[in-house]
């Protein structure tokens, strides 16, 4: 099969949707929803057929079993986001822009696919930008709301700043090694001062994208202002793809100066987990709450990165997979409630279980999974991450992470308590969700439960990660 199959298929459906959009009259825009979702589902399914690994463009594009699997994970995530957004897209304010939503999402997905398959800093940069720039347009999607436009501005400015910083690092790497290819750069990284500086710039740029702690300030504002479905996309899929390629570059290109970046990541991990958790404690708005919780989760992911081992790589991918289902489940519930009632605060969820038992159950499962309670998938994700870090001897780090898990459990339980135990005079009225929303939430729940019980998925990831670092 074709080496670039995932990308070509996505480009094909993007072009098809664009042509359809151009020739579709304004009153018929809603008809694009079902075909778009079906096309995306088809691409997702085709992606699972075994493909041949290979290298294209003289090494600029490299496809391995691992990247193919990660692209499949991303495809699933985007498909869920698509399904969850239907309810929101059908609102009056979005009626004219339905296909733009799909087009921009697909554009970012194509960018991510190229980014994670890159074997060269040029391809990496183009993919990264293609994955970032359309998201700003998506964040400003509800253009009549000031908050949404503000989120868009903040996102585009901070991402432009961060990619500038990242590029500055890349230019220095190029200056010291004279090449852009990962494979050629790697042996030439010797830790001379300019390279160290370059690495710090590169790290700062990537930390912006993943929203690690000293660089996280844009995250909460953007997550709160952007439409819920865009927020879920940003927090799960953008972040997952960025973490993946970040790990690969650290393991392959900068493996020679691993001693240095291990220390850096050690500090950043502690900061990220702690600050993310402490700020999540005091949030009232659920989107903001989930934003800070996702910052903390990004910190947990770094636990797998730090060890530089096959186990680490495996746990990172496994955690992203689990995280997609858990976080999309939580955001799905927040999304439908926000769309129907406009309520986003934790207090508004008082007594949700009485009126909407199914939604609160999904929310509860998702939050339990995020907190890492067995037997849900989130537990195994975190457990493996801790194991990976502990095996490399980072016991204090694991201990701090464990303490933070307990803190996180507290604030996740606050939401669950509000839904299940608190009484409210004005609970959120019963919401009749449409079939799309139900399907989206069902997939998330199924993912959380099934992945938790099937160890074969973990073993598959483990085998694919072999020989990468």
């Amino acid at each position: 099969m074709l080496i670039m199959r995932h990308e070509l298929l996505l480009i094909a459906i993007t072009v098809i949707l664009l042509i359809v959009e151009i020739f579709l009259p304004n009153t018929q825009k809603h008809k694009i929803i079902l075909p778009a979702i079906l096309l995306m589902a088809a691409v997702t399914v085709i992606g699972f057929f075994p493909g041949t690994p290979g290298v294209l463009f003289g090494g600029m594009f490299q496809s391995t079993q691992l990247t193919m699997m990660f692209k499949n994970i991303l495809n699933i995530g985007v498909l869920i986001v698509f399904i969850q957004s239907v309810d929101w897209l059908k609102q009056d304010q979005n009626k004219e822009k339905i296909s733009e939503f799909f087009l921009l999402m697909l554009a970012t997905l194509i960018g991510m696919n190229y980014m994670i398959s890159s074997g060269d800093f040029l391809m990496f940069y183009i993919g990264l930008e293609l994955a970032t720039i359309p998201v700003a347009a998506l964040a400003a999607f509800e253009r009549l709301k000031e908050k949404s436009a503000e989120a868009g501005v903040k996102l585009i400015f901070s991402s432009a700043l961060s990619s500038g910083i990242l590029l500055y690092g890349l230019s220095m790497i190029y200056g010291t090694t004279g090449t852009m290819y990962f494979a050629d750069v790697a042996p030439l990284i010797t830790g001379v001062p300019l390279q160290v500086l370059a690495f710090i710039f590169f790290f700062a740029g990537m930390a912006f994208k993943i929203s690690l702690v000293p660089f996280h300030l844009w995250t909460a504002d953007v997550y709160e202002g952007a439409p819920v479905n865009v927020t879920s996309y940003l927090s799960v899929i953008s972040k997952g793809a960025a973490v993946f390629i970040f790990t690969i570059i650290l393991y392959t290109v900068f493996s020679k100066i691993a001693v240095m970046w291990s220390d850096l990541i050690y500090v950043v991990t502690i900061l990220t987990i702690t600050v993310g958790n402490l700020f999540a404690l005091r949030q009232q708005n659920l989107k903001r709450f989930l934003a800070f919780s996702s910052i903390a989760q990004a910190g947990f992911i770094l636990l797998g990165v730090i060890g530089q081992s096959q186990l680490g790589m495996t746990t990172v991918i496994y955690f992203v997979l689990v995280y997609i289902f858990s976080n999309l489940g939580a955001f799905g519930v927040v999304g439908i409630i926000s769309n129907r009632t406009g309520k986003e605060n934790i207090n508004d969820y008082d007594g949700l279980y009485r009126t909407n038992p199914n939604l609160s159950l999904v929310m509860m499962l998702a939050l339990f999974s995020l907190a890492g309670i067995p037997p849900l998938a989130g537990f195994f994700g975190k457990f493996f991450l801790f194991t990976a870090a502990a095996k490399q001897g980072y016991y204090i780090l694991v201990l701090i992470a464990l303490i933070n898990t307990i803190i996180s459990l507290y604030y996740y339980l606050l939401v669950i308590k509000a839904m299940l135990l608190n009484n409210s005079d004005h609970p959120i009225a019963k919401i009749r969700s449409d079939n799309y929303t139900r399907l989206g939430l069902l997939i998330c729940v199924a993912g959380m439960v099934i992945i938790g019980f099937t160890s074969s998925i973990y073993e598959m990831v483990f085998n694919l990660s072999f020989g990468l670092y």
Binding site: A137, L161, S163, G164, D221
Partner: protein, 105 residues
Amino acid sequence: MTTLQSIPIQYYLVFCSLLFSIGVVGVLIKRNALVILMSIELMINSINLLLAAFSAYTNDPAGQIFVFFIMVVAAAEVAIGLAIVVLIYRTTHTIDINVLNKLRW
């Protein structure tokens, strides 16, 4: 030895670092959205110059090709940024980013 190479590479590094720093400071302290966009351009252009200089010194064209792509990507970035700034201007009638305070923790 070409004219470009007769200038030591350190000069380029220092000059580009200065330009880059001016750009970063501009992004961080300026309150006008358009000036921020211009500062971002300054950052990007300093990087372009640095890449071109490195490319000339290592006799490797990859750096200059990178510059092309950076230019295009920067244009796309500015286009989106400008579009959103226009959007903000339409609702608030100012491009001072201090009005962007609806989102606070």
